[in-house]
C-alpha cells in the first residue's frame, strides 16, 4: 500500500512522496487534524452566539423607532465597538488578544487558546448577522403582536426569533464557515488542524501533496456544513410549501 502509493505519486513527479504518503496514512495525523480544525471554531461559534445574539437583538429593538428604544448614546457606543472590532484584520486581532487568552486559559499558544481570539472576532460579526436577519421581520406582524398586548420580551422570544428562524440558521451557517476559515489562519500561532498542516508542511516544507489533501478536506468540511445549514433552513421555513420544497 505504502510502496505502491509512493510509486504512483513519484511517477506523477511529486518530490519527497514517500515521506508525505507516510504522514498522510498515519491514522493519528489527518483524523486528529480534522478534529482540531472543527472543535475550536465550533466552540468559538457557540460562544460568539452567546455574546452576539443578544447584541444583535439589541441593535434592532434598541434603535429609534424599535420596540424598546435605548438611549442614543448606548446605541452609538454599541455600533462603534462592533464596527471597530470588525475592522481589525483577524491576524492582528489574534495577536492583540494574546493577553486575554493568557488571562482566561493560562496560555496563548495551542488550538484551545485560539478559541479566545476566534470568539472575539466572531461575536461582532454574529451580532451583525443576527441584526440583518431580524430586520427582515415585517413591522406589521410586530404591530399585530403589540396590539394583542405582547410585552417586549414576548415579542423577542415568541415573534422575532421564531419568525426569523430560517434566516438565523442561514446566518449561523455563514458564521460557522467564516470562523472555520479564521481557525485555519490560527495555525500561524501554534493552533493545530488542517490549516496548520497546510501552512507548516505544505507551504513551509514544500510538501505539496499534503497541502492539497489538507485543502481538499477543508473544502469538503465547508460543503458539508453548508449543506446541513441549507437543509435545516429549508426544513424549518414554513413559508416554503411542500410542493416547492420537492421541486428544489
Amino acid at each position: 500500500m505504502l510502496e505502491s502509493l509512493t510509486a504512483f505519486f513519484e511517477s506523477l513527479g511529486v518530490s519527497k512522496a514517500a515521506e508525505q504518503v507516510e504522514f498522510l496514512l498515519d491514522p493519528s495525523n489527518i483524523p486528529f487534524a480534522i478534529w482540531e480544525t472543527l472543535y475550536a471554531p465550533l466552540i468559538a461559534t457557540v460562544l460568539a452566539y452567546v455574546i452576539g445574539l443578544p447584541l444583535g437583538i439589541l441593535l434592532v429593538t434598541g434603535e429609534e423607532g424599535g420596540i424598546r428604544p435605548l438611549p442614543k448614546g448606548v446605541m452609538s457606543v454599541l455600533n462603534t465597538v462592533i464596527n471597530l472590532l470588525r475592522s481589525i484584520p483577524f491576524l492582528i486581532l489574534m495577536v492583540m488578544v494574546f493577553p486575554l487568552s493568557r488571562l482566561i486559559l493560562g496560555t496563548a499558544i495551542g488550538t484551545t487558546a485560539t478559541i479566545v481570539p476566534l470568539t472575539v472576532a466572531a461575536a461582532p460579526y454574529v451580532a451583525r448577522l443576527v441584526e440583518a436577519s431580524l430586520r427582515e421581520m415585517d413591522r406589521g406582524v410586530i404591530e399585530a403582536a403589540q396590539s394583542m398586548g405582547c410585552s417586549t420580551w414576548q415579542i423577542i422570544t415568541k415573534v422575532l426569533l421564531p419568525e426569523c428562524k430560517p434566516s438565523l440558521i442561514n446566518g449561523a451557517t455563514n458564521a460557522t464557515i467564516t470562523i472555520l476559515g479564521y481557525g485555519a489562519m490560527a495555525g500561524n500561532i501554534g493552533g493545530g488542524g488542517l490549516g496548520a498542516i497546510s501552512l507548516m508542511r505544505g507551504y513551509g516544507r514544500s510538501q505539496t501533496l499534503v497541502l492539497y489533501v489538507a485543502v481538499i478536506i477543508l473544502v469538503i468540511l465547508v460543503q458539508v456544513i453548508q449543506s446541513i445549514g441549507t437543509a435545516l433552513c429549508v426544513k424549518t421555513d414554513k413559508r416554503i410549501t411542500k410542493n416547492s420544497k420537492k421541486g428544489e
Binding site: 406589521g140 394583542m148 419568525e163 414554513k238
Partner: protein
Amino acid sequence: MEPIIEMKHLSKTFGDGNSQVAALRDVNIAVEKGEIFGIIGLSGAGKSTLVRCINLLERPDEGEVLFHGKNLMAMSEKELRAQRKKITMIFQHFNLLDQRTSLENVCFPLELVGTPKKEAKKRAMELLETVGLPDKANAYPVQLSGGQKQRIAIARALATNPEVLLCDEATSALDPKTTRETLRLLQDINKNLGVTVIIITHDMKVIEEICGRVAILNHGVVAEIGKVEDVFSMPKTEAGRRLVYPDGLPAELLPKTKVIRVAFNGGTAYQPLIASLAIDCGVKVNILGADTRNIDGKAFGTMLLGLPEDETEAANALAYITSQKDITVEEVPNYHA
C-alpha cells in the same frame, strides 16, 4: 347607550420643522357599545393614525382615549397591555405569524396570557369553527387565500374575548365577493358575541353594507358624523360630498336656485358683467349655459345664470344686472324640473 370608546380632542402631528403633517386635529368621536361604527376618508386622511390611537399603538400628542370611561393614556404599560386584550385589531395585510399554523396563530394570544396548552387548543378550534375554517387548522399562512388569512386573523383577534374589534382596511386587499363574506362574518360576530366593531375604510360600500354610524375624516378633521343613511344621502360638507359623489353632485341634489336668462343687446361685454357683479355686489353667480358672441368688443346673445341660494344676495344680483344698459333679463321658471 353608554359609549364604550371615547376619543376626546385627539391631535397628532408627525415630523418636525417644515415637514410637519397634522394627521389628526381635535378629533372627537364616541363609539357606543354594540354598534358597528365606520370611519371613512380618502388616502392620507388620518384613518390609520386614528385607529392606532385607539389602542395606543400610536400615542396622540393631545387628547384622551377613554375605554369604559377610563383614560387609557394615563395607564401604566402593564395595565395598557391588559386592556389591549379587550380591544383587539385586524389589519389590511392580515399580519399572521408565517411560521405558525392557523391553529397556532389563534393560540398565540392565549399563550401570552398563560392559558394551558390543551385548553388553548380547544378554544382555538372553537374559534376556527366560528370563522368557518376548522379544516385549515394545520395549514400554514402561505397555504391560505387572502380571505382565509383574514378569517384566521379574526379568529385570533377574538381569542381573548375582546369587547371591541378594530378593523383597519381589513377588506381592502380582498376581492368583492370575499369582502362581502368577511363583512358578513364581522356582522355575525357583532350580533352574536356583542363585540363592538370599528371599521376603517376608504370604500363607501363597506360602510353601507354593515355600519350603523359613520364619521367622515378629512385631512385629520372629523367633517361629518352620524347615521350612515343620513350622512350618505345628504352630505353636508364639501368633504362629504366629494367622498359620496366623487363624480360631482347629481342634478337632483344641486341647490334649487333661481335661474335667469340674460340677453345682451350689444352693450357691455358679458365677462366684465360677471366680474363686476362679484366685485360690486360680492355675489358669485353660476354660468349654466351661454350662447354669446363678441363683436367689436360688444356682446350679443343670451346666457343662463344661476343666482345664489341666499335670497338677499339673489335679489341684489338681479337688481344689479337689471340696472345694466343694453341688457334684458327674464326669469326661467321651471329650470330644475
